[in-house]
């Protein structure tokens, strides 16, 4: 049963602007990762950088000027999403459309630049509230779309923009809003590059999820959004949120429970919420960061819930790990894969780690696909699994 109708969606990442570029890149096995230089970063690594972030925001939104909100603005304008959101506002009313946005670092890149420029005080252009603050992205999107309802930022590291679906479902069920704009935006910044490097989780090589030689993540940036409505209030819809599962590892701040118990609980809860069995799921979009610890733990979690047969792969070899945006990026890729009956392989995985027992796809497949589970796990042991379906 459909919990929510997904009546529109869009995604922008290193693969390009909008959905078509994403499915094309998946089908042609073209990664968006490259050895490019970001800002003044001197670390050897591969990045998933979004092109086209040079244009300033429109004057009426200039207070929110920063890389993260430029990315949000760019992403809002792909696939006719902005117009669809306006139409949603017209149908439900500006007060009745909620905004639920995941981000891990919002516009902290602005603060990094301000500190680098700082003499005795912060430069006059710096605006903490509209850039660095974790709520700034949700606030920006609410203003950009002329909405006047419930709005919040969810920031649970790399599960942030998966959890927005669960929060929106609850708010709609409770009657706080009638429809929702959910999504996530995270942009490149020195904090995450040097931070993951300090934890020895940033790979100097291109990330290789599930490969024997994998040694860390490649960081990417992305933005994506979806419109969610009650199934009873739409005439027809192609995609549905069927289930979601949230859990906590209760294990460690920056490494997953090696047994994958928290991950398994999130997946199990998503299946329960949807009243589905494991064998009814056609493909799992893994969190699959490409660190030893994540891929091992997730493998155990998937194995305990699904066994070793369900097709699965990580798409982070294409986009990089987009951190707080990973949930919405992989939600969008899950929906695209269903539309195109396409099960993507694990990109850059040449030699699958024999310790991993799940059915990680080493070749992409074309097959009917109507139900997909997407995993997002974050620091602090924050797990979220989403279950999407497509009406046949």
């Amino acid at each position: 049963m459909s919990l929510l109708a997904i009546t529109h969606y869009t995604v922008t990442s290193a693969l390009g602007h909008g959905r078509d570029r994403h499915i094309a890149a998946l089908e042609s096995e073209t990664s968006g990762l490259a050895q490019v230089r970001f800002d003044t970063c001197e670390l050897a690594c591969w990045l998933g950088e979004v092109a086209g972030l040079d244009a300033p925001l429109p004057p009426e939104l200039a207070a929110w000027e920063c890389r993260n909100n430029r990315l949000a603005w760019l992403a809002l304008h792909q696939d006719g999403f902005f117009e669809a959101a306006q139409s949603l506002r017209a149908r439900y009313g500006a007060h009745r459309v909620g905004v639920f946005i995941g981000t891990s670092t919002a516009g902290i890149h602005a603060t990094e630049r301000a500190y680098a420029e700082m003499g005795t005080s912060l430069p006059s252009w710096f605006d903490y509230r509209h850039t660095q603050n974790i709520y700034s992205t949700a606030d920006f999107i609410k203003h950009a779309l002329g909405l006047q309802g419930h709005a919040l930022a969810i920031s649970t590291a790399c599960s942030s923009s998966a959890k927005v679906f669960a929060a929106a479902y609850r708010a709609i069920e409770m009657g706080v809003c009638d429809a929702a704009i959910v999504g996530g935006v995270d942009s490149l910044c020195l904090t995450t590059l040097y931070g993951f490097n300090s934890l020895q989780l940033l790979s100097a090589d291109i990330c290789k999820p599930a490969d024997t030689t994998r040694n860390g993540i490649s960081i990417g940036e992305a933005g994506g959004f979806a419109l969610l409505e009650k199934p009873t209030r739409v005439k027809s819809h192609l995609h549905s949120l069927l289930g979601y599962g949230e859990s906590s590892d209760a294990h460690h701040m920056s490494s997953p429970d090696p047994q994958g118990r928290g991950a398994a609980q999130a997946m199990q809860r998503a299946l329960q919420r949807a009243s589905l069995n494991a064998h009814q799921i056609g493909y799992i979009n893994l969190h699959g960061t490409g660190t030893k610890a994540n891929d091992n733990a997730e493998d155990k979690g998937v194995l305990s819930v699904f066994g070793a047969e369900t097709s699965c792969s990580s798409t982070k070899g294409w986009t990089g790990h987009t951190l707080g945006a990973a949930g919405i990026v992989e939600a969008a890729l899950s929906l695209l894969c269903m539309e195109h009956n396409f099960l993507p392989r694990s990109l850059q995985t040449r030699d699958k780690d024999p310790e991993l027992r799940c059915n990680v796809l080493l070749e992409s497949q074309r097959a009917p696909l109507t139900r997909v589970l997407s995993n997002s796990f974050g620091f602090g042991g924050s797990n979220c699994s989403l279950l999407f379906g497509m009406n046949a």
């Binding site: 990094e112 005080s121 419930h150 959890k163 409770m174 706080v176 300090s198 934890l199 859990s247 209760a250």
Partner: protein, 263 residues
Amino acid sequence: MSLASAYVNGVGLAGPGLPSWTEAQAVLRGEQTYAPTELAMYQPSLLPPNERRRASPAVRMAFRVAEEATRECAADTLATTFVSADGDLQIAHRICAALATRERFISPTDFHNSVHNAAAGYWSIATAAQGPSTAISGWDTGFAVGLIEALSMVQIEGLDTLLVAYDLPAPEPLWTQRPLAAPFGVALLLSREARVGTWGRIELQCTAGTETSLDNSALEQLRLSNPAARALPLLCALARRAPSELDFAWIDDTTVRTALIPV
């Protein structure tokens, strides 16, 4: 029409001159004069020594109120909603300052503590709670947004939920752009069923209104000094166990109206 309701089965509080819920009630009832003395350092009792060493002042503040609110319940079964407008600006400051140096050495501990859900993560580790847990921000209306999110966990998921709202003043130079005058933390244990000694039931609705202020000018000043302190009208009503209707700033001219019904 009420959107959701829950029993307030536990309360935690910390702010200047209000070192704990237990000690603050007489002040909140108006029986004692409010004197905003500085809060003493707090050592979380639930954190293992390793994590206690690594915990930042923001995490300590969240634990301080969360531990008090859950003293009489099994914390491992609770869902949690952590609300902070700003997250940990002391850590953001240290990281941005380090990135402005030639060496750019970021402490690994600072980096993993910099996530907005640091307190939520430490809390789940400390209590072995594997349920849903979230970390959100709603800028200065975060307390109302947090009430909605936590009550939705109770109402829609059927889970007893711990709501923790906290914010600390930023260090300079960020303080000039976000001048919170005081640290503040509040925790509410929101449950489906009343326990013996419950503080009452709250019912939420979203309605036209203006936010409730406090008559006591010193407490009113505190209320406005920190987004988490916007909870003070509810705390005063809970301390009095008085039937009340309180409006919390939410969006423009609409508030989250919270009715307190003593049991």
